[in-house]
């Protein structure tokens, strides 16, 4: 293949409007092969790229639109896409030229024209585009049709109601049975986008159409396959057999080279499995999903990251997937940090008695690496492993002790934190290591580690000879400690007192701390707890002892498994941002469409039992803030791009939903498919239903006629 080397870097220089204008005007006089215009336009495009406002040149640039050089036309179009919206008073000047192109003999030119026009969503342009778009949706050339399909999504975004009135949605729907797979795929993409809008028509598939789409799967491009596979989640199987047939048809796509095809196939399979009755088929699908998921780890690191975050969800819902593949998730020394952290969590999830030794050896290795966060998580994982896999606990403790000996402060602190939980998980088993921990008391400067150590001192004050001394030392800075440590100290001192109530030192200590907690501290939690202890001890020390030293429920690792209903819901977003952050998209993205499993006779009883119903879409008044490891709010008060987020939302949907209830539902049944499957009209949707004899059985399009 020949490579083409351009020489355009020289145009990457800031220029002045007047200069460009003069150059364009000079080019009008004499411009052999349009070279001059080409040069000026390149300079202008470079300046647009650099963020220089070139819009004052609008009038001058559009003079070039008639130049018969395709390269020039494309640059003018790029200019129009950038500034067209800001020039509603001048844009009409280019419309005749656009319209001419829309009926050009050359399909590439036709497509380019409607594609560009639809990028300028202002009424003058959209109005002019209308008729052309209608023609192009039925163009004889598939390239024009596939471009037109996406144009509908653009036009719909610009003005949903108008697009509906003009019948574009129905035209788009008709494209689902187009003979060309690329056209079908783009129509699916456009309808999905429209269907995900809260004010959009509802896009659901019935069996017949879903099957037609699957038929197009083999012939569509990889991207088209993604759009089609994704849309299968809009089909609700009514019978096990339907879901089973569909799963069998899509499963071959797991072998596709494009990771997005693979992940979207997995999403479709995970979805369909909820409606499959045949246990053997479910096992088979699970077995088939494992290897492709591991293969995703030989993609680029970014895709690996996406895959890993998804795997973490998948193995919680379908534990048989990858259960023997823990080695595949061992970190490579030069993996990017985000890949390492994601692998670490999966390693912990997949750890079992059989592989605990290998996993522990790996974790020990990671504990000596450079990245502090990674090291801490590795140390913490060792502790969690001890709690999760009882037979491995001894080895884990050994390894934690070794780590404590390194005296690396963050390693020690992390080890202390997990050790506390290990004590609770295996009472009476490992208290022998307490002296070792006490040696490192001074190294603890983080609240969580300090609180953990204090808890240990209090809990085992009867076994630690100098517990009173140690606590006395720690209490010294009581008033300056963070609340977490103060609470721990308060409780520990009370426990100490209960164990050693005869000691004068202890008495003085508890008195001092209770007095501080109730008199000098503003934190109500601490004060309340202080009062509570004080009264208990004053009224009946024996009962107080029973309460304070009550047997604690054993720690289990159950709590770190996600709730099944929530998992089912999250897995409907496999491969997307939501699956990376493990959050439903509607909770962190404004106007994002939520998804939930939909009940049907085929839905597995277990899935039904934990069914999450989707709340009616409600428009959040402001940006939702999500704390935790997921997305974060911008820290700067006025992000340039975020400004749009603060614009009050249009309120059209609310009024049209509740008041103007003249809805037009198009619902048809072809009878041929013989499926009695119904689309799911919205619960409160009892508007007039028109039965039209078209091939889109139970295909519900809801048009809001305003």
């Amino acid at each position: 293949m020949s490579t083409q080397q351009g020489q355009d870097a020289k145009f990457f220089q800031r220029g002045k409007i007047e200069e460009f204008r003069a150059e364009l005007q000079a080019a009008e006089a004499k411009d052999k092969k349009y070279q001059k215009r080409k040069t000026v336009l390149k300079k202008i495009v470079a300046n647009i790229t650099m963020g220089n406002d070139m819009s004052p040149l609008f009038h001058d640039v559009i003079q070039c639109i008639g130049t018969p050089l395709l390269e020039i036309k494309k640059m003018v179009y790029l200019f129009l896409v950038s500034y067209g919206r800001s020039k509603p008073d001048q844009i009409h000047l280019v419309i005749p030229s656009f319209l001419q192109d829309c009926s050009d003999r050359n399909p590439l030119i036709r497509a380019l024209a409607i594609r560009t026009m639809s990028y300028i969503p202002i009424p003058v342009v959209t109005e002019a585009l209308g008729d052309q778009l209608r023609h192009c949706l039925k163009d004889r050339d598939p390239y024009v049709r596939k471009t037109a399909a996406i144009c509908v999504a653009k036009v719909y975004t610009a003005d949903p109601r108008k697009a509906e009135r003009k019948g574009f949605v129905e035209l788009l729907r008709d494209m689902l049975i187009d003979e060309n797979a690329t056209v079908v795929a783009n129509a699916v993409a456009a309808l999905s986008e429209i269907g995900d809008r809260q004010d959009g028509v509802i896009f659901k598939l019935n069996l017949t159409i879903a099957n037609k789409l699957l038929g197009a799967l083999g012939e569509s491009s990889e991207w088209g396959q993604i759009y089609i596979l994704d849309s299968l989640l809009r089909y609700v199987p009514e019978q096990h057999a339907d879901a089973e047939m569909m799963a069998e048809r899509v499963i071959v796509q797991l072998q596709h080279a494009n990771s997005a095809v693979v992940l979207t196939t997995i999403k479709a399979l995970l979805y369909l499995m909820n409606y499959i009755g045949d246990r053997r088929l479910i096992d088979y699908i699970c077995r088939k999903m494992g290897p492709p998921l591991v293969t995703l780890l030989s993609s680029g690191p970014e895709v690996q990251y996406v895959a890993l975050r998804n795997i973490l969800l998948i193995i919680q819902r379908r534990p048989t997937v990858l259960k023997n593949d823990v080695k595949a998730f061992f970190c490579k020394y030069n993996d990017p940090i985000y890949v390492k952290l994601a692998k670490l969590e999966i390693m912990y999830r997949l750890a079992r008695e059989e592989n605990a030794r290998e996993v522990l050896a790996e974790l020990e290795e990671y504990a000596s690496e450079v990245d502090v966060d990674f090291v801490r998580k590795a140390v913490r994982s060792i502790g969690r492993l001890a709690i999760k896999v009882e037979p491995a606990a001894d080895k884990c403790i050994e390894s934690l002790l070794k780590l404590i000996e390194t005296k690396v402060t963050y390693v020690v602190q992390e080890a202390v934190i997990v050790t506390k939980d290990i004590f609770r998980r295996y009472p009476g088993k490992y208290e022998g290591i307490i002296p070792k921990l006490c040696e490192n008391l001074d190294a603890l400067d983080e609240p969580e580690a300090k609180a953990a150590m204090v808890w240990i001192l209090g809990q085992f004050a009867d076994k630690i000879d100098n517990a009173d001394e140690l606590l006395d030392d720690l209490v010294y800075s009581f008033l300056d400690e963070p609340a977490e440590v103060q609470l721990a100290l308060l409780t520990a001192v009370v426990k100490l007192f209960i164990y050693k109530s005869q000691s004068e030192v202890t008495k003085a200590l508890v008195h001092k701390v209770l007095k501080w907690a109730t008199e000098d501290i503003d934190n109500p939690d601490l004060r309340d707890r202080g009062f509570m202890y004080w009264r208990m001890l004053a009224m009946n020390p024996a009962v107080a002892a029973e309460i304070v030293l009550a047997e604690k429920p054993a720690i289990t690792t159950d709590s770190d498994r996600m709730d099944r209903g929530a998992l089912d819901q999250l897995l409907l977003h496999t491969g997307t941002l939501g699956s990376i952050y493990h959050k439903n998209p509607e909770t962190f993205i404004r106007n994002a469409a939520g998804r939930a499993l939909i009940d049907s006779p085929a839905l597995n009883a277990n899935s039904r039992a934990v069914l999450v119903t989707l709340a009616r879409p409600q428009l959040p008044p402001t940006v939702i803030s999500v704390s935790g490891p997921g997305p974060v709010e911008p820290t700067r008060p006025s992000q340039p791009g975020e400004a749009a987020d603060n614009v009050p939302l249009p309120t059209i949907m609310e009024s049209s939903r509740s008041d103007e209830r003249d809805l037009l539902d198009i619902e048809g049944d072809d009878g041929a498919g013989g499926d009695s499957g119904e689309g799911y009209p919205d619960g409160d949707d009892d508007g007039p239903v028109t039965k039209a004899a078209d091939p889109y059985a139970s295909w519900v399009v809801r048009l809001v006629v305003t």
Partner: protein, 425 residues
């Protein structure tokens, strides 16, 4: 879907900026520059601020960035970035600041074509090259029929191939390239060894050739479902270029396809069973007191004497407080690179069966607060021609074309490691 596409250079300057949607202004680029380019500790390829998410892939000195306000399909967005990079490579030879600046107008054309409203569209290089070029094209002069051919191909079932390809000599080259990943413990046990295999094909075949591809007779694909014989080559998984008919592969295990013209990746596979490790590395590293570390490392070529490993590079870590390293090698050259805290030992060629040794002493400065040396693994890079670590062999490649021409097929094997053949010590 994708709302905006940017390319930034190392300094955070915008080299390409294309807004597919009106939900952003160009100034959104500033947010990325502040949050990612100027941030020395970026810990994720995806940054989400409010409802806005930035996806980025780094290549050479550039950031390829997609921005969205939806719950976008993240795998798709990254695949799109990768695809852009491979298209740019094919068009310009390399992807760096210079080539982007030199071809920015063409890049704008390309990204207008391969993504519409943020939905990736046909991005097959061969097809794109038939209508997106740097040559000056007079729009009225393009024959409508010619364009129809292009559009039919761009939207057709074999969007990756033009129908009118002609070669005097019909040839096909198959390269089986295996990357071996190894992680070996300090005790010499293999913690993990697997092979990432790629079958690269360069097809210079006329017309619309129907190809059939055959691998080892005893090949177990999807080893989970069948118990294969122990001497069989077992693949854990394989993935195919979109030209391969997956349904046929699923039912009869035959790999049949109409190839794109020129170079493409036909197949990618993974194997974890019976992986032959071409190089055996036996390190003995001792910390002598706090001032010295002694190294004794042997590398043994574990394959037939007719083959040889070339471009062997061992990167042997040294403690952070190393002042200098005194190396003795019989083969190749060894050099201490202080900036990276490693000794780089380069051996141009190791014959099969041969063994090379490395002896060195690293001197350390005494530090008061000495942390335990993390001992990163030794990393080995190498290439061995005509060897596959998995044992995979190409048995045949059949080409059927209606004109029944004779075609010549070449097969080459390469096993290599780069950056993931690691031995702990």
């Amino acid at each position: 879907m994708i709302s905006a596409f940017f390319i930034f250079n190392q300094k955070g300057e915008v080299l390409i900026s294309r807004l597919y949607r009106t939900d952003f202004k160009r100034s959104i680029a500033d947010v990325f520059r502040i949050q990612v380019v100027s941030n020395s500790d970026v810990r994720s390829p995806i940054i989400t601020l409010g409802s806005t998410s930035f996806f980025h892939v780094r290549v050479n000195n550039l950031y390829i960035v997609c921005v969205t306000k939806t719950n976008a399909n993240a795998a798709l967005v990254f695949e799109f970035c990768y695809r852009f990079i491979s298209i740019a490579k094919s068009y310009f030879g390399k992807v760096d600041e210079e080539s982007v600046k030199n071809n920015f107008v063409l890049i704008y054309e390309l990204i207008d074509e391969i993504s519409d409203y943020g939905y990736p569209q046909n991005s097959e290089i061969d097809t794109l090259k038939s209508y997106i070029t740097t040559e000056s094209v007079i729009s009225s002069a393009i024959a409508a029929e010619e364009s129809s051919k292009i559009t039919t191909q761009a939207t057709g079932a074999t969007s990756w191939r033009r129908g009118d390809v002609k070669y005097k000599k019909n040839e096909a080259f198959v390269d089986v390239v295996e990357t071996v990943n190894l992680s070996m413990s300090a005790k010499g046990t293999v913690l993990r060894a697997d092979v990432d295999g790629h079958i690269q094909m360069r097809a210079y075949l006329s017309g619309t050739p129907e190809c059939k591809f055959g691998l080892n007779d005893k090949l177990v694909i999807d080893k989970n479902s069948q118990g294969g014989a122990s001497d069989a080559v077992e693949l854990d998984d394989c993935r195919f270029h979109q030209c391969v008919r997956l349904n046929e592969f699923d039912t009869s295990r035959t790999i049949s396809f109409i190839p794109p013209d020129g170079e493409f990746e036909l197949m990618r596979y993974r194997s974890t069973s019976n992986v032959k490790l071409p190089l055996r590395v036996i390190p003995t590293v001792n910390e002598i007191g706090t001032t010295q570390v002694s190294y004794n490392i042997a590398v043994k070529a574990n394959f037939g004497t007719k083959l040889s490993a070339t471009n062997v590079v061992l990167r042997i870590p040294t403690p952070l407080n190393t002042t200098g390293v005194d190396c003795k090698v019989a083969n190749g050259k060894a050099k201490y690179v202080p900036a990276e805290n490693v000794v780089v030992w380069k051996i141009p060629r190791i014959q099969g069966g041969q063994e090379c040794t490395f002896n060195a002493t690293a001197g350390l400065t005494s530090t008061t607060t000495r942390q335990v040396w993390a001992r990163p693994p030794i990393d080995v890079d190498f290439e061995v021609l005509m060897l596959t670590a998995s044992g995979l062999i190409v048995r045949f490649l059949k080409v059927f074309e209606k004109s029944n021409y004779h075609s010549i097929k070449w097969v080459r094997y390469l096993t290599k490691a780069s950056g993931s053949y690691q031995i702990r010590f």
